[in-house]
């Protein structure tokens, strides 16, 4: 059985595709390997500049013109690196759904959220008219937004951060993808809202048997969502393994620093000043 997501030797450099990369710039991501089986979960941990966000973009081929990627990224059997956009469009939303950190920028500020949710439902599931309306309502209820009529008629800025992020999750899951890529989905949220949204993601991923790639800089958050992690530092995967193992016996210096910091803050909660 092949994996749902198979990344091998993924290298991302800053530079136009045509010519050689700019000077002696270090690659932004250097030879990343990772796999996720169908229904499996993996955490990607790293600080800023570690390349973790680029990985999520690379998986669905959204890196943009200024970056060039080499290596292999196979999503449900399709090679993403070098593939033309029309080959990748069927993957986006239907095989892999993406949730970002800042729902305010992920949602169109000028469109009501109901309409924004209807669009992928219409596109991926071919629904129209009354059935589409029902699907929108069902999708909202699924992400625990029960006041469906009011919410669907609202604009993003009229909703709270937590509500917006739930909408973003609903949109990401509209096409019933097999893989959910969540890139710092709760970093911008209040702690109580974060707990709710994480629980929501966990429940939906479980109920639908989806695979999950959870990206974050917060070890505590990641540890509540996945059992396996890959630690990124400055573009390289420096460590991988079970969360428990990484926490108790970190091998790499960068991992140690991460774990020490997370532990220190966690310890402070146990034993404050």
């Amino acid at each position: 059985m092949s994996d749902l997501l198979d990344i091998s030797g993924l290298t991302i450099t800053r530079g136009v595709r045509r010519g050689a990369p700019d000077g002696a710039d270090q690659p932004l991501l250097d030879g990343l390997d990772l796999t996720i089986a169908a229904g499996g979960r993996l955490g990607l941990i790293g600080g800023s500049g570690s390349g973790k966000s680029l990985t999520s973009l690379a998986v669905i081929g959204l890196l943009g013109e200024q970056l060039s990627a080499s290596g292999s990224v196979e999503l449900a059997g399709t090679q993403v690196i070098g593939a033309p956009d029309r080959a990748l469009r069927p993957l986006r939303g239907r095989v892999a759904g993406l949730v970002f950190q800042e729902p305010l920028t992920a949602l169109d500020p000028l469109m009501r959220v109901g309409a924004q949710l209807a669009e992928p439902l219409r596109r991926h599931l071919g629904l129209r008219g009354e059935r589409l309306k029902e699907a929108v309502e069902a999708a909202l209820v699924e992400v625990s937004l029960t006041d469906t009529a009011r919410i669907a008629a609202s604009y993003p800025h009229e909703l709270s951060g937590g509500q917006r992020q739930r909408i973003a999750i609903a949109i990401a899951l509209a096409g019933r993808p097999q893989l959910l890529i969540a890139d710092e989905p709760t970093t911008a949220l209040d702690v109580t809202v974060q707990a709710e949204v994480l629980a929501l993601i966990d429940r939906l991923v479980r109920e639908r048997g989806m695979a999950l790639l959870f990206i974050s800089h917060d070890l505590a958050v990641v540890s509540t969502m996945v059992d396996e992690v890959v630690v990124l530092s400055e573009g390289r995967a420096v460590e991988r393994g079970a969360v428990a193992q990484v926490l108790t016996a970190p091998q790499h210096e960068d991992t140690r620093r991460l774990v020490t910091s997370a532990r220190a803050l966690d310890d402070a909660l146990e034993d404050p000043r």
């Binding site: 800053r14 700019d22 932004l28 800023s48 500049g49 966000s53 680029l54 999520s56 973009l57 943009g64 200024q66 970056l67 993406l98 970002f100 950190q101 800042e102 920028t105 992920a106 890139d183 710092e184 970093t187």
Partner: protein, 288 residues
């Protein structure tokens, strides 16, 4: 950093055609430099006296009269050089007037209470709605045609745009945390304006002022073309263009020369503005 932020950060750091940009700046400096040299030289030497009408009428370029003569026999090269002086003075003068008034009003609006800011902004919008030329014409018609009046008129019209730009740039700076930090560090508002606001709005503002220089030169040329500028022999290029209008088929150089001169100066200034924009980017500076 989210995925979107990562992309944006990379975009900002890309060296955008650095070589192309400095070529623009160089070309701009050359074009403006030629005009500046003509103007500077005109202060100490002219091929002929401005009022000398000894040359034949409407002659083409010859060894003595490099660009020919006008309908009264005056040397065209001499008039072009005087015109260069006037063009530069107009540009600089109008920009100075516009900048001083505009920046002051813009700062006031940015610091003002909500209703005062709205009032000032509305007034600025009204002024901006008037075409620069029309406004200048009104002022000149009231005060009489002279170079000084033209400069002030154009400067006043321009100040509204400068004010509006200053206002929005200042508001943006005031919303930054380093302004709050400056206040908690004990810096007075005057200090905040001098040390933080002005240096941070200057890059964008200076580019705009450079562009306004070109607009001012064109505005003055238009005013003179319409007969509202200073009369010859201390005529500006606009006036030269107007006078050459009637004889453009028989003595084309009379129109081409000032026309080319205006284009050179305005395009040159715009290129310099482009180059300034790139230079003004603080992330290109590095410490020792």
């Amino acid at each position: 950093m989210s995925a979107v932020d990562a992309q944006t950060a990379l975009a900002d750091r890309r060296p955008v055609r650095r070589r192309a940009r400095s070529a623009t700046l160089t070309v701009g400096l050359v074009l403006v430099g030629v005009i500046a040299v003509l103007a500077a030289v005109s202060l100490v030497w002219l091929p002929f006296a401005p009022t000398d009408t000894s040359g034949g009428r409407l002659e083409g370029p010859t060894g003595t009269h490099w660009l020919g003569t006008d309908k009264l026999g005056r040397d065209l090269m001499t008039q072009l050089m005087i015109g260069a002086r006037i063009a530069l003075a107009t540009g600089a003068g109008a920009v100075a007037v516009g900048a001083v008034i505009g920046i002051a009003v813009g700062l006031a609006a940015a610091f003002a209470s909500a209703w005062l800011d709205d009032t000032i902004s509305a007034a600025l919008d009204v002024v901006i709605a008037f075409p620069v030329l029309l406004l200048a014409m009104l002022i000149v018609a009231a005060q009489g045609a002279s170079l000084g009046t033209a400069i002030i008129a154009i400067g006043l019209a321009m100040s509204a745009i400068v004010a509006r730009l200053t206002r929005i740039l200042t508001k943006r700076v005031l919303s930054e945390q380093y302004v709050v930090a400056a206040r908690t560090a004990g810096t007075s508002w005057a200090g905040v304006i001098g040390q933080h606001v002005l240096p941070n709005i200057w890059p964008t503002l200076s580019v705009n002022l450079a562009l306004q220089f070109g607009i001012a030169v064109l505005a003055e040329a238009s005013l003179s073309y319409l007969g509202l500028g200073a009369p010859p022999p201390n005529a500006s290029w606009g006036r030269l263009l107007q006078e050459a209008q009637a004889t453009v088929t028989t003595a084309p150089v009379g129109a081409i020369a000032p026309g080319v001169a205006v284009v050179m100066l305005v395009v040159g200034v715009n290129f310099i503005a482009d180059g300034l924009r790139d230079l003004g980017d603080p992330t290109r500076r590095r410490g020792a």
